[in-house]
Symmetry: C2
Subunit: 281 residues, 2 copies
């Protein structure tokens, strides 16, 4: 059985953490949707742009595996899109329609179990925050309706505190107001929980959470899902959980997958591949 | 106006050429579909697997721009999926349904102008070639019907001559029979043209066309589309055309896009970014 989670929002849900900054996460029981079918997860999961990288979804899924369910598979449905505002996510638009199609495709082969939302940077100027709750409400209500999942948990994260520090800071001068709107939205909506970005840091662009922060953010998103509560600060054990995830020994299938990848990418020769394949255990 | 092309089939349509082996192609008038909207093309276009790389689509599009239409945009719709057989592409299945959804999404914002097909490796054993024409026929007929494009050109490429040379060669022992089926299919179907793989070479895995070959293959696909004819061997001018494509000077927008990418990826500092942005022309 597979339990699936829809990833929607803008670039920080798609993920822009640098791949080189953290160890890869390989787990044969974590899948991602590709062309309507499950494939073993490999980052970047949500390849909306060539800059796509580490997102919060991998450690969300790893935590789910560690603390919630060891038996079943977890599936990630990547539909986030960089630079998009709430108006881009209007229910008649291409992004929303794509998310509905992908989620319905996943529902044929899994139980849709949660929605992960991160968005708001593109609504952080020009007083757009004033309509944020109202617009998000309509999007989420329509989504729940169309997917026939009225009580599905929705986890929403706050915005980075660094947004005004970069060269594009002027575009984010109302990020605190959007953050407040996200918190209020979670307060006023059943089955919706807010996740703090306390202590999370950015890439040099001061727009995107760095890879190390995305790893922590995913664990906070999971904790909110698991405990059905807002997470209002850093978790005392988040670094420890990242460590547990990174130190998980690979299964035979995962080692095999890694070798196949290295062969296909020309990283190892066919001779090295065959030698190593023979000693996998 | 945008003219769009649907990419379907298995890994050699998705593309597995190594990114490091060829210069990148950047062209602001070549787009790719992401979440139902057009984005400037960047390879890998068809990110079905972590091994995805250079496909034939980029030089197909560049040739279209060079020789066919300088005014309009061209849009690529990536729906190919590695390792898939014709049975995986059955019209009730997830891959076909996804391709229909993506193509229809593209039709809302472009004119669907062609279908690029490359598939057959996964039908190259166990006598599957005997039903190849019949199955492909049903897939293509249904596709044309559902997209309401009865006369849309379909370009189909042959299989690599190298398939039996690798460590997985045993799985491809009937690749010549599939190649013959593809040629016959093109002969018997209106608006369908076959493209030869003469002289094209493989990655070390002897399964996937290498990046240099994919660049040539795309030009052959375009020539078949443009001349409405089978391309039965290498083109005398294909290396020259690759050169023209590689030597095309970047526009201001493309240089800007490249700088944004380098900033986002941490390749250049914000200071370098701002210095270089100021001197773009």
């Amino acid at each position: 059985m597979t339990h699936s989670f829809l990833m929607i929002g803008q670039s920080n849900m798609a993920g822009r953490g640098f791949l080189k900054d953290v160890p890869p996460i390989l787990d044969e029981k974590i899948k991602m949707l590709r062309n309507g079918r499950w494939q073993m997860m490999a980052e970047p999961i949500n390849f909306d742009r060539p800059t796509s990288g580490i997102s919060l979804a991998a450690t969300f899924a790893s935590s789910w595996r560690l603390f919630h369910n060891q038996e079943d598979d977890i599936g990630l449905i990547p539909c986030a899109d960089g630079g998009t505002s709430l108006d881009d996510w209007s229910v008649e638009g291409a992004l929303f329609q794509n998310a509905i199609f992908q989620a319905k495709a996943a529902q044929k082969i899994s139980t849709l179990s949660g929605i992960l939302w991160h968005q708001g940077e593109s609504d952080s100027n020009g007083q757009k925050h004033r309509l944020y709750i109202q617009k998000l409400n309509h999007i989420i209500q329509t989504l729940r309706q169309e997917l026939n999942t009225p009580d599905i948990p929705l986890i929403i994260g706050g915005l980075g505190s660094f947004l005004q520090d970069g060269i594009y800071g002027q575009y984010f001068n109302e990020h605190k107001e959007v953050d407040t709107a996200l918190q209020e939205f979670a307060k006023d909506n059943e089955h919706c929980f807010f996740v703090s970005t306390e202590g999370l840091t950015a890439n040099p662009d001061n727009i995107h959470f760095d890879a190390v922060s995305q790893r922590k953010f995913g664990i906070r998103y999971f904790r909110a899902f698991e405990q059905k509560t807002d997470i209002l600060g850093a978790l005392a054990d988040e670094d420890h959980i990242v460590e547990i995830i990174n130190n998980r020994p690979l299964t035979k299938n995962e080692k095999n997958e890694m070798l196949q990848y290295q062969l296909a990418m020309g990283i190892i020769t066919t001779e090295e591949f065959q030698t190593q394949l023979a000693i996998i255990h």
